[in-house]
């Protein structure tokens, strides 16, 4: 079902190193030569214990940070050569973030939160409103879209966050422990939304977690340990659960 053709590579990272405090006595190397290829339509899980470099890798994949060394192309764009404003633009158009802690803006309505990335993309009020409502319906939140995040439960907030991540139709969804703060049942609902997005819309998803069970639902599981990939296996997929 996933066509692993070179022309369908979305994330193409080669020999990624990330060091902090460069040139200082406490210089620290977190990632030691990571190679990662993610293909269009894949649902990839990256697992690893805390301190394994997961977050650092996620920041690099999500172009919040640049690698110290290596090559990284996201959907054909050379990230290493991009300037600050171009990185902002890439985050806006090509990446949909879903965070463990939702990171919704608390003072505005759920709907406005969903609209936000489109605002930065320069979409008109009407376009924003229509698209945001459509996505709120998709995640089953149309009833509560005028509530502020404070008035929503954790599961509801995460559904809003997923709607927000999808609003500019990004190349990949980057999910950092999206069920980490949720109970099993609501976590399940959220996972089902991801599966639906992957299966029905063919959305590429990179899913970072420390839960082996959730990782198993994905098509491919990469294990990160001490800044290097130590294992790669096929997941059992959604149908198996």
């Amino acid at each position: 079902m996933v066509n692993r053709d070179e022309k369908d590579v979305i994330i193409d990272a080669q020999d990624i190193y990330k060091r902090f405090y460069i040139g200082q006595p406490n210089e620290l190397e977190i990632l030691h030569g990571i190679d990662l290829k993610v293909y269009r339509g894949e649902f990839v899980a990256i697992v690893g214990a805390s301190g394994s470099g997961k977050s650092t890798l996620m920041n690099i994949i999500g172009v919040l940070d640049k690698p110290t060394e290596g090559k990284y192309h996201l959907d054909g764009v050379d990230i290493m050569a991009a300037k600050d404003n171009e990185l902002s633009h890439i985050r806006n158009k090509k990446i949909g973030f879903v965070f463990q802690t939702y990171n919704l803006i608390s003072r505005t309505s759920a709907l406005k939160n969903v609209e936000l990335p489109m605002l930065y993309a320069g979409a008109s009020r009407k376009q924003r409103n229509e698209r945001a409502k459509e996505l709120m319906a998709m995640v089953g939140m149309e009833e509560r879209m005028h509530h502020t995040p404070d008035e929503l439960s954790g599961g509801q907030k995460q559904r809003v966050a997923i709607a927000r991540s999808m609003v500019n139709d990004p190349a990949i969804l980057l999910c950092d422990e999206p069920t980490g703060a949720l109970d099993t049942k609501t976590g399940r609902t959220v996972m089902d939304i991801f599966h639906k997005l992957n299966e029905e819309q063919g959305k590429t998803i990179v899913f970072i977690t420390h839960s082996p069970e959730l990782a198993d639902e994905c098509q491919r599981v990469l294990t990160l340990s001490d800044g290097v990939f130590v294992g790669e296996r096929e997941g059992r997929g959604h149908a198996a659960t």
Binding site: N85, H89, L119
Partner: protein, 429 residues
């Protein structure tokens, strides 16, 4: 589009933190309100005074005998201030005479339309048995009387013969008639009245009654002390005082095309050179309503500037308060900033967001301050007896200034927010 969203966002932020926003804006509110209040009061005073003064004749030049510069301070703009009691009395040779006035009238025929001359005999009391009325007895020439703009209720003004023959006729006020003739103005006409001034008796025949204008009573005397003017032909006044016509000051009514300032200088130079060169104590000086008005306005604007500086300091303090609260707000919203950056906000759009927020904060404070200032200034002007006239330029200036404060004090915090590292910002607890 983004700007409008930012404005809504900022307003929502203000509403969410009402108390904090209010306290932050307080400095701006106080500063702007005091500027506007002061400007409103100043503006009201200036416009009232100038309309009052121009109604008194802007083209009138008063030429008078005054003590020499060493003893009299003459301000740059022509207002004279006499300090302390006069040390020297005018002698007979010091006064302006009709010859001098005829001389200057002949020298500037284009400029001088007429000369108002008056002579006050003094304050006294009209008596008729038990009935009394306070009067100020003054002789007027025809021009001077015309410029008094009297509303004649009964009878007439003086005729040419009254003037030329210095007849002992007078025009009295209706107020005077109330006291002396029980308000019967018809009965007053033709009556002979007796006025006592400094134990001397003066007799006049009433030929006219004018309407007393209470608003002209600047000294606010109580009703029974009011001394209304009793007008005489000028010659009659000098005749009764047994002296030749002489004046300490007279008013030159100039043509509307006259450049008053230059004219005043020329007259002063001419008079001082010709008639007062050898006078050790006195000289001629001129003043006009417009020069007095100018000095009044400049005095008021000096006061306004001084108080505006103080208000400016309060605005500065207010601005620092805004900066402080913006820094706190940015600290609190670090995660929001991180999130926005992750969602594709550029540094520029984050900077704009927070500058707009600071501007909105200052502008809302500024608008509240303007409204408050108009109310305070209006009430104060009203209390002082002027029509409230809010200063438009002051309002525009205040709006612009509060925006400028927002930009100036918002820039540093906004720039700090814009430069945040998204990863650190997202991780911030």
């Amino acid at each position: 589009m983004l700007l409008l969203e930012n404005i809504f966002l900022a307003l929502a932020g203000l509403k969410a933190n009402k108390m904090r926003s209010f306290l932050t804006m307080l400095g701006i509110i106080i500063g702007i309100a005091s500027v506007i209040a002061i400007m409103t009061v100043g503006n009201s005073m200036t416009s009232s005074i100038s309309s009052e003064m121009s109604s008194m004749g802007a083209t009138n030049v008063t030429i008078g005998v005054s003590q020499k510069s060493s003893k009299t301070e003459r301000s740059e703009s022509g207002m004279m201030f006499n300090f302390g009691p006069r040390s020297t009395k005018l002698g007979d040779d010091d006064y302006l005479t009709d010859e001098m006035l005829e001389d200057i009238a002949a020298k500037w025929p284009e400029d001088i339309e007429s000369i108002e001359k008056t002579e006050e005999i003094g304050k006294g009391e009209a008596k008729d048995g038990d009935l009394t009325a306070n009067v100020t007895v003054e002789g007027y020439n025809d021009t001077a009387l015309e410029n008094e703009d009297l509303t004649i209720l009964k009878g007439r003004v003086f005729t040419d013969r009254d003037y030329s023959e210095s007849k002992k006729v007078c025009i009295v006020s209706d107020y005077f008639c109330n006291n002396m003739f029980n308000g019967d103005t018809d009965k007053a006409l033709g009556q002979k009245i007796t006025v006592v001034i400094d134990k001397k008796f003066y007799h006049y025949t009433v030929v006219g009654v004018y309407e007393y204008d209470e608003s002209s009573n600047w000294t606010q005397e109580s009703a029974d002390e009011v001394a209304t003017t009793l007008y005489l032909p000028l010659g009659a006044a000098f005749y009764q005082e047994h002296k030749d016509p002489q004046y300490q000051n007279v008013t030159l009514v100039t043509s509307t095309t006259t450049d008053v300032e230059t004219f005043m200088d020329e007259v002063e130079d001419y008079m001082n050179g010709r008639y007062y060169r050898n006078n050790d104590d006195f000289e001629i000086s001129c003043s006009s309503m417009s020069s007095m008005l100018e000095s009044m306005t400049s005095m008021l604007s000096t006061i306004s500037v001084a108080i505006s500086i103080i208000a400016g300091i309060s605005l500065l303090v207010g601005g620092i308060g805004v900066m402080n609260i913006m820094l706190v707000s940015i600290q609190e919203r670090t995660r929001e900033i991180g999130t926005r950056k992750a969602l594709g906000a550029t540094n520029g759009s984050i900077r704009t967001q927070f500058i707009v927020e600071a501007i909105v904060l200052c502008l809302v404070g500024g608008i509240i301050g303007i409204l408050l200032g108009i109310v305070i200034g209006g009430v104060a002007a009203h209390q002082m007896g002027y029509d409230a006239a809010p200063s438009t330029s002051g309002i525009i200036f205040s709006v612009a200034f509060s925006m400028a404060i927002g930009i100036f004090f918002g820039y540093y915090p906004a720039n700090k927010a814009a430069k945040m590292n998204p990863i650190d910002a997202l991780r911030y607890e």
